[in-house]
């Protein structure tokens, strides 16, 4: 190994890593899409207090929040085929990527469901009643009134989740996926310039996170454009929120009319 850092290697590796951004982003995007759907589905039983499903979703969330992601990757890679074998489904020819995406989707799904649950609780009950009063069904009120506002409220938390998800994909190499981190480990086998390779890798993750952060921030601003931009109005809104929170209590979707 060389005595000092050779910047030219950092550059070289940086550019040789670029093609692997695709596979990393593929994991991020697919797992977040599926994870959002899973998170939504898992949040519903708890929001609507559906007896047995509510417990199940709690267990699911605790498990995926309470165990290391790396272990989850292995459990799903080795365990899922066995489980599916019981149902006479053979997945031995399935690409590894499918298992990786499944694991990341289930992992982020647990966090997303918690974010959605908290955010739905922050949308005031009065607007839902206003929806019913103009004749909406429970489903319409949820979709048109609660969800858009809940997503806006959850955006900062979801943003953190997305960035975390990007960084977590670096674990996928342990199942042999040649994403950014996997690639970065193979590049210096000849030169032995591992430090330079990891430096280029860190730089690349940082740039990706930075871009994502900016995009998410703009999205958040857009989603919250209905809450006035100027400081005075914003604090008025906060005060109003606090006041209403006391008066009408938290949103309780189990009441009359919810989700028919």
């Amino acid at each position: 190994m060389g005595t000092s850092v050779d910047v030219s290697y950092v550059f070289e590796y940086f550019f040789r890593l670029l093609p692997s951004v695709g596979i990393t982003m593929k994991i991020v995007v697919l797992s977040l899409l599926i994870g959002s759907a899973v998170g939504m589905l898992v949040a519903l039983p708890r929001l609507y207090r559906i007896p047995v499903l509510q417990r199940l979703s709690q267990v699911y969330v605790s498990f995926f929040r309470g165990t290391p992601l790396l272990i989850q990757l292995f459990l799903i890679y080795y365990g899922l085929p066995e489980l599916l074998k019981l149902a006479a489904i053979d997945v031995s020819r399935m690409p590894v990527l499918v298992f990786v995406v499944t694991a990341y989707a289930l992992h982020s799904g647990a966090f997303i469901s918690e974010a959605i649950r908290a955010a739905v609780g922050a949308v005031d009950r009065g607007q839902v009643e206003a929806g019913y009063a103009i004749g909406m069904t429970g489903f319409q009120a949820f979709r048109r009134v609660v969800l858009p506002q809940a997503i806006a409220v959850a955006m900062p938390v979801l943003g953190n989740l997305i960035i975390a998800n990007l960084k977590d994909t670096s674990l996928a190499f342990s199942l042999g996926i040649m994403e950014l981190t996997g690639k970065a480990q193979t590049l210096p086998t000849m030169s032995q310039r591992f430090f330079e390779s990891y430096l280029a890798l860190a730089l690349l993750y940082f740039i990706l996170s930075f871009i994502l952060e900016k995009l998410l921030y703009r999205l958040e601003r857009r989603l919250l454009r209905h809450e006035a931009a100027d400081g005075a109005a914003a604090s008025r809104i906060r005060r109003r929120r606090v006041k209403e929170g006391d008066a009408s209590g938290r949103l309780n979707l189990t009441e009359e009319g919810a989700l028919r």
Binding site: Y132, A133, I134, G135, Q140, R144, Q149
Partner: protein
């Protein structure tokens, strides 16, 4: 037009509506008065079916429901016949004034978007907000928000509009503009039930007053008679507390 028969409602063991009978003719403006906790809000919430009455019969327009065992379809149809203006406005905060008014037309009544837009613009004009179509609730004063709330209720062309203390969350200087709008639509012959603590306004705008106490209707009558010569002792007590002499002695 609207007929309530023996409407009862309990929260746990506490009966807050003890068999309410009420009939409202088309075009009538009825003001409901009564001390705090007498069940005025509970009654309006039952009429709009935001709360389920325990028993009784209810008819609004051509929809009649037996409240002991209503079907989901009944409830949905009944809700479609009334509209509500809330004390706290409850506008959809992620939608502009125009979108708030259009929402019911487009989503519930399936009116084509362009038609809904035209009607909503007209209604916002009527409540004096023609220049605020694209403002979000957070950019509007309380009085303006409540006027959007009124336009949203009007848009649905309901058989009755229910007002629950529409001005009591407002700063005093904003009360007038909202009352003016209610006065205006009252003159257009829209059926309304208004819960209010504004005695002078009730006397002026309502054709009939209903006085409630402790979950029951104690007394009702034409507005002029009600204030001049209340029959029940409880009504007299209430009016003494609520009104300056000048109004009481008209």
């Amino acid at each position: 037009m609207i007929a309530l028969k023996e409407i009862r409602k309990s929260f746990g063991r506490h009966e807050v509506l003890k068999g309410i009978d009420l009939e409202v003719e088309k075009g009538e403006v009825v003001a409901i008065l009564g001390p705090s906790g007498s069940g005025k809000t509970a009654l309006l919430r039952c009429i709009s079916y935001l709360e389920r009455p325990g028993s009784g019969r209810m008819q609004i327009g051509d929809v009649a429901v037996d409240c002991s065992h209503p079907s989901k379809k009944d409830i949905h149809r009944l809700r479609g016949r009334s509209a509500m203006v809330f004390q706290q406005y409850h506008l959809f905060r992620h939608k502009t004034a125009l979108q708030n008014v259009m929402e019911g037309l487009v989503v519930v009544q399936n009116v084509p978007k362009e038609e809904a837009r035209l009607r909503s613009v007209e209604l916002l004009g009527k409540v004096g907000l023609g220049a605020k179509l694209d403002a979000y609730p957070s950019q509007l004063s309380g009085g303006q928000q409540q006027r959007v709330g009124i336009a949203r209720a009007l848009a649905l062309d309901p058989d009755v509009i229910l007002f629950d203390e529409p001005t009591s969350a407002l700063d005093p200087e904003l009360v007038g503009e909202v009352l003016a709008v209610i006065r205006k639509i009252a003159r257009e012959g829209i059926t309304m039930i208004i819960v209010t603590h504004e005695m002078a306004f009730a006397q002026e705008v309502a054709s009939r007053i209903v006085f409630m106490d402790d979950g029951a209707v104690i007394e009702e009558g034409p507005a002029s008679e009600f204030f001049r010569s209340p029959r029940e002792e409880r009504t007299r007590q209430f009016l003494r507390r609520m009104t300056p002499e000048a109004v009481y002695n008209i």
